[in-house]
Symmetry: C2
Subunit: 266 residues, 2 copies
Amino acid sequence: MFTIIGERINMTRKKIKEKVWERDADFIMLEARKQTEAGATHIDVNAGGDPAKEVDDMRWLTEVVSKATKLPLVFDSANSLALEEGLKLCNRPGTIINSITGEKKRIEDILPLVKKYRTGVIALTMDDNGMPEDYEGRMKITRNLAKIIEEEGIPLDKVYFDHLVRPASTNPGQARFILDAIIATKREFPEAHIALGLSNISFGLPLRNNLNKVFLAMLMAAGCDGIIIDPCERGMMNILLSAQAALGLDEYCMDYISAYRQGRLR
Amino acid sequence: MFTIIGERINMTRKKIKEKVWERDADFIMLEARKQTEAGATHIDVNAGGDPAKEVDDMRWLTEVVSKATKLPLVFDSANSLALEEGLKLCNRPGTIINSITGEKKRIEDILPLVKKYRTGVIALTMDDNGMPEDYEGRMKITRNLAKIIEEEGIPLDKVYFDHLVRPASTNPGQARFILDAIIATKREFPEAHIALGLSNISFGLPLRNNLNKVFLAMLMAAGCDGIIIDPCERGMMNILLSAQAALGLDEYCMDYISAYRQGRLR
């Protein structure tokens, strides 16, 4: 199964922050439903509007979002108290914690929750030295994290690596090594998953949707089996269905053809 | 440079055959101009409407098309007489013969023309045993062809391999090995080029443009540096510019940004 984490309910976005602080449940529920209908498999919930209010906002958001959708949630925070507040209220099969990194403190804070609640976990390829700007650096962190996670007795099929895409405009050639890192990760740790936040690729460029779409197709050809996106973004689900058909992941293109018959392809 | 061979002027298409036999030069010239304006780097000319008329039709088509565009032509035939008729009339820098295969007779007929006129040549990965339906078979022919071509003293940068895409609907998983064959070909023969006819991927499926576009993005991530397409097909040039930007082939996305400013991106 391809993991599609809907990223819209994120309090670092101004509009969402306002609506959460107004406790506008209708607005937030609509955001959850729109993403569910668009084809998301998970709904990300980020309550990071203000550190002082995060635990409280996470509780409210979890209650509201879990009423609006049956999908599992992705609890998105570096604060273990906020994460646990959400997990206590809603821990459906497929729930994911977003995220650990290679940073020692973050591992110590958050990995116990992954074990206790038996959730999945997104692992970002950065560590106490920052974010390495090359293939070898990201793979080194990938391997370290896989080792730590396995030593904790967490099966690797619970892990979703995010190799941290940077903007093509300022980091030329970086997409190439991200693709190579995905190929290597799936070869070395075939049970592990990928959950890549892809829209950063187009940061600072016009018509960002163009770049997001081609990069999604490239990621899928490299073996990427999960992404964090706005599933309502024009054409993204089209690319997903078309890429699965082209790659033979959708055998005899049956999903593609039925999506067409249902009017879901354009 | 990325090679974009415009495929529209092909007499196996009913409309083109009719117009050529009516000697409708205006229609054919417009086909050449439309492809040139859309961004083609080469114009394919296929006069294969009727074997008895092919040499004559190739002469007429070459005269007409070479008047309409300054681009180099791609002479598309298995008939060496038709190929030479075209080459005598128009052999601009960049001209390509389309095509040889691993078939003994075809090599003997056509490779002498490649040498005599110092053209490029498209090499299809099939031979006297037909078209192999796996990665190993296609790579074996690729290697054989590279060897034969080098032994004839033709530099490999004159060669454009076409790994023969088959429909995703009937050959699931075939796109995967085509991508792998491109990666291997560019690794083993870095000077050689690719010129893949990509639209076959979507044969028999609805909304073919969707599959053609995602497959183009995947091909480019695999290192493909040339395609045979209809450059007027909606969105194809968008994908090309976006993929080059994403992959860092268009450094700092300058081509992408200037295409946007000129209104060539949508």
